[in-house]
Amino acid sequence: MKLLIILTLICLCISFFTSREKTMIGIKKGFTMFIRLLPTLLLMLAIVSIVLFLIPRETMAKYMGEGSGIKGWIMAAIFGSVALIPGFIAYPLCGILIQSGVAYSVIAVFITTLMMTGFLTLPVEVKFFGWKVSVIRNLVSLAAALLIGLVMGLLL
């Protein structure tokens, strides 16, 4: 986060001192895109908040821990694909899961699906890529996440 702020500030400064006019055009362009995307974005966040309420963290922990074999994997993939949990919550949660005995491979599947696939963020993705490409990308990423879990399980 800090890195992004610094990066943006540096870019802004350089841009501003090179050409004020171009900088203003750039900011305006970015801002227009942001405003156009905002309703979809907020609606998606509303849906995500409801889903996260319906499946609280404790429930996720319980299902992923249970008989951590195939079932733990599948649950991790489902939770990870559906949920959209910010990193600052997801990683501490994973730390707790590891301590309570959840396998590393399950955690790897959970984290990877959490980051790469988002079925609840599809409405936003579709605005950019259209339905077909978005669905393909999510399914391919899901397969990759399962593969990552498999390899992690073999190595750790």
């Binding site: 986060m1 900088t23 055009i25 750039g26 895109m33 156009r36 609606l43 908040s49 990683y91």
Partner: protein, 171 residues
């Protein structure tokens, strides 16, 4: 008017949340808290991403992008998009606007999806978090396994979409 219509569902949602607080309805209050958390995360970083997208649009010429990360850019181009992605932050939906601007400037299909893959799994701010909570060994191993996989995904997506009409739309 059309712009406002898009907000109707959201306004309903917020009214329900407001009513929950008024009448001490626990479920609604919790959902409200979740929404606040997500909203904070989004509003902190997304405007930054869009400023970067806007600046990128006015400053970076199409020829440069085409040459360095375009269709015939090879491994160097792949390295460049990965580097670009690792420096950014935030959830995946923040990467879509950037993917759009890269596409508009002539980035290849392969590199678009490699960018999305790197953005979702190799961001440096996130990696520091991961190492802190899950250990260096886990993070390093996960990174090393993930890296080739999303490069493969890039090639796979390019192969799937090669002969089809593909575009990244401006929302």
């Amino acid at each position: 008017m059309k712009e406002l219509k898009k907000y109707i569902a959201l306004v309903c949602f917020l009214i329900l949340i407001g009513l929950s607080y008024l009448f001490d309805f626990a479920a609604g209050e919790k959902i409200g808290l979740n929404f606040c958390m997500f909203f904070k995360e989004m509003i902190l970083f997304l405007p930054l991403m869009f400023i970067l997208v806007g600046l990128f649009d006015v400053w970076v010429p199409r020829e440069k992008i085409e040459k360095h990360i375009g269709r015939d850019s090879g491994w160097k181009g792949t390295g460049l998009v990965i580097l670009l992605a690792t420096l950014q932050a935030g959830p995946l939906y923040g990467a879509f606007p950037f993917a759009y601007i890269l596409w508009k400037k002539g980035c290849s299909i392969r590199n678009i999806f490699i960018y999305l893959g790197a953005f979702s799994t190799l961001k440096i701010p996130m990696l520091t978090f991961e190492i802190g909570f899950l250990g260096l060994k886990f993070s390093l191993l996960r990174t090393l396994i993930t890296l080739p996989l999303f490069i493969i995904i890039g090639y796979l997506m390019e192969w799937i979409l090669k002969d089809k009409y593909f575009e990244v739309k401006q929302p």
